[in-house]
């Protein structure tokens, strides 16, 4: 599994263009908006936006690291080749999950550095540390979402499905626009989404408030649910067809 993980990381890193594109958009947004004045939820705009963009970049990296690539490799036959090798299903899933989580780190690092310098964000070391851990661990359900998309869609539609999912998560989860300004029906839906819960956790950590165990529970539930769907699709594909 370690060998497989290393192999996957090496070849993904080689695709630097893909990595840069993943990071560029949230970084650009941060550069545009971080200088605005004002406070919200007890946080300055620069801090608030650090959390939003870190969540957005984390979700995007986690999903793009697995989804479209998986769909493409199911299509081109690489997955068939892997299935007849001794790599185990749990080993494969674990490697993909770790790979997705590691993909989050470059974007997160760039945003944190930008916030501390360009954004003049002052966060106590403890709060910043908690925030980083939350983003890294909290994106696991999005890795699972990427796997589900990669296993449900074909190579052409996976990219689009991913993009739409990401935008829905970002808008309804209150990352691009304030959640409270959404119509009430959308608020109800948004409040169910993992992006909402991850963002809330992040803002709470940055503001030094109690994190809120309900958010943690919601993210865990999403992980289990999406993981089960991915496992089901995987089994279905390996036994049927």
């Amino acid at each position: 599994m370690i060998a497989f993980l290393r192999f996957e990381i090496v070849r993904t890193l080689r695709n630097a263009r893909f990595l840069i594109m993943l990071i560029a958009f949230p970084v650009l947004l941060y550069l545009i908006y971080a200088k605005q004045h004002g406070t919200s939820q007890g946080l300055t705009v620069a801090t608030l936006l650090l959390v939003s963009m870190a969540v957005y970049s984390g979700m995007g990296s986690a999903m793009f690291a697995s989804g479209p690539q998986l769909a493409r490799e199911r299509h081109n036959g690489w997955m068939r080749q892997l299935r007849i090798s001794p790599i185990t299903t749990p080993g494969w899933f674990a490697a993909k999950l770790v790979q997705s989580v590691l993909m989050i780190i470059p974007g997160l690092a760039v945003l944190v550095v930008l916030a501390l310098t360009y954004g003049h964000v002052h966060l106590a070391g403890g709060r910043l540390g908690t925030l980083v851990v939350i983003i890294v661990v909290g994106t696991i359900p999005f890795c699972a979402a990427g796997l589900v998309i990669g296993l449900m869609f074909d190579s052409q539609t996976a990219q689009v499905a991913q993009m739409i999912t990401l935008l829905v998560l970002a808008f309804l989860g209150g990352i691009f626009i304030s959640w409270s300004s959404l119509p009430s029906g959308m608020q109800t839906v948004g409040k169910l989404l993992p992006s909402y819960h991850l963002a809330q956790l992040g803002w709470n950590a940055a503001a030094g408030r109690p994190l809120g165990m309900s958010h943690v529970a919601a993210l865990a539930a999403w992980t289990v649910g999406l993981g089960a769907i991915a496992a089901w699709r995987w089994r279905q594909e390996s036994t049927a067809a």
Binding site: A3, F4, F7, V10, R11, T12, R14, N15, Q69, R72, E73, H75, N76, G77, W78, R80, Q81, R83, I84, S85, P86, I87, T88, S238, T239, A240, A241
Partner: protein, 319 residues
């Protein structure tokens, strides 16, 4: 190994129809048949990539899944792609590690003829090179049983030759090899046994020489002013005589025995032609359709084909 296996797709298309065969360890066996015959389905089933609708498949005395997990079988599947962004050497190193280094990197590169392109990225490879990489991956575990599904489809003549040399070297080390092909010469040259498949059924199963014995049926055509059919029928090894005006067609099991006797009859023979023979003719005959590689299908040969099909029942008994 393959017991009464049926595979039905979508409840409609029957890819394998109650197929039975068993392959002894150490043998090199060809699955020969036209496209859509069920060769790939059979191989996928033995690799555990597909589940049979009914019947039982055992490889090396276990289920395909168990054999895969134990790293005892290797396979080159027909649509096995490679992942973007990886180098040839990295891909082979990965598979070596998955199989706990049972074969050295240098060995694998050499066996598959990849030494010169080890540093090349996968997406820069030609079709033939990709195929050789997949061959190396299939060998990485030093498998007891190796499946090759149309392994030379994208290879040029030279690459094909060195490919089969490597396969023979591996078979020489005791690996059982089962390969699918629609190249008849390939089956003949590289297998100790040929299983002919068509429409999901086994049409013939025997050694290449048994299959070729069947193909020794020749068609002798000539014209003569007044054909004496019954005399012609008594010639050695003649199965059938068709006379139409001056044109005569004789089907013989051994043209070398028939021809001298034909001339000995003293009847005037003009424009004599001997046709047929070769595995391709046999395959067309056995599978009863022209879907085979060089499937020549002019009207004259339609009749020939139909006649040969009746004989195919004999062939199945041989196996």
């Amino acid at each position: 190994m393959f017991h009464n296996v049926t595979k039905v797709y979508n409840g409609r298309v029957t890819a394998l129809d109650h197929v039975n065969f068993e392959i002894p360890r150490g043998a090199t066996v060809a699955l020969l048949g036209p496209n859509g015959a069920g060769k790939s389905t059979a191989i996928d089933t033995m690799l555990g990539l597909r589940k049979p609708t009914s019947g039982e498949v055992r490889v090396l005395g276990m289920t395909p899944a168990a054999a895969v997990a134990a790293g005892k079988i290797g396979g080159m599947v027909q649509t096995g792609g490679l992942p973007d962004g990886a180098k040839v050497s990295e891909l082979i190193a990965l598979f070596r590690q998955l199989y706990h280094g049972r074969r050295s990197q240098a060995d694998l590169l050499r066996l598959a003829g990849l030494t010169d392109i080890a540093d090349r990225r996968v997406e820069q490879l030609s079709g033939g090179q990709t195929q050789r990489v997949r061959f190396a991956l299939a060998l990485a575990g030093r498998p007891d049983l190796l499946f090759l599904d149309e392994p030379t489809a994208a290879l040029d003549v030279e690459a094909r030759r060195s490919f089969w040399q490597s396969v023979q070297a591996i078979a020489g080390q005791g690996t059982t090899v089962l390969f699918a092909t629609h190249y008849l010469d390939e089956a003949d040259a590289n297998a100790s046994r040929i299983i002919v498949v068509s429409h999901g059924r086994i049409m013939a199963d025997g050694t290449p020489s048994q299959i070729k014995a069947y193909t020794s049926v020749r068609t002798i055509r000539f014209s003569t002013p007044a054909p004496h059919t019954s005399a012609l029928l008594r010639l050695p090894r003649v199965n059938e005589v068709v006379a139409s005006g001056e044109a005569v067609t004789i089907r013989s099991g051994d043209a070398d025995a028939t021809l001298p006797a034909l001339y000995a009859l003293g009847m005037p023979v003009r424009g004599l032609e001997v046709g047929g023979g070769g595995l391709e003719e046999a395959l067309i005959a056995l599978t009863g359709d022209g879907g085979v590689a060089a499937g020549a299908a002019d009207l004259g040969e339609q009749a020939e084909r139909a006649a040969a099909v009746t004989n195919s029942s004999d062939m199945t008994r041989v196996g």
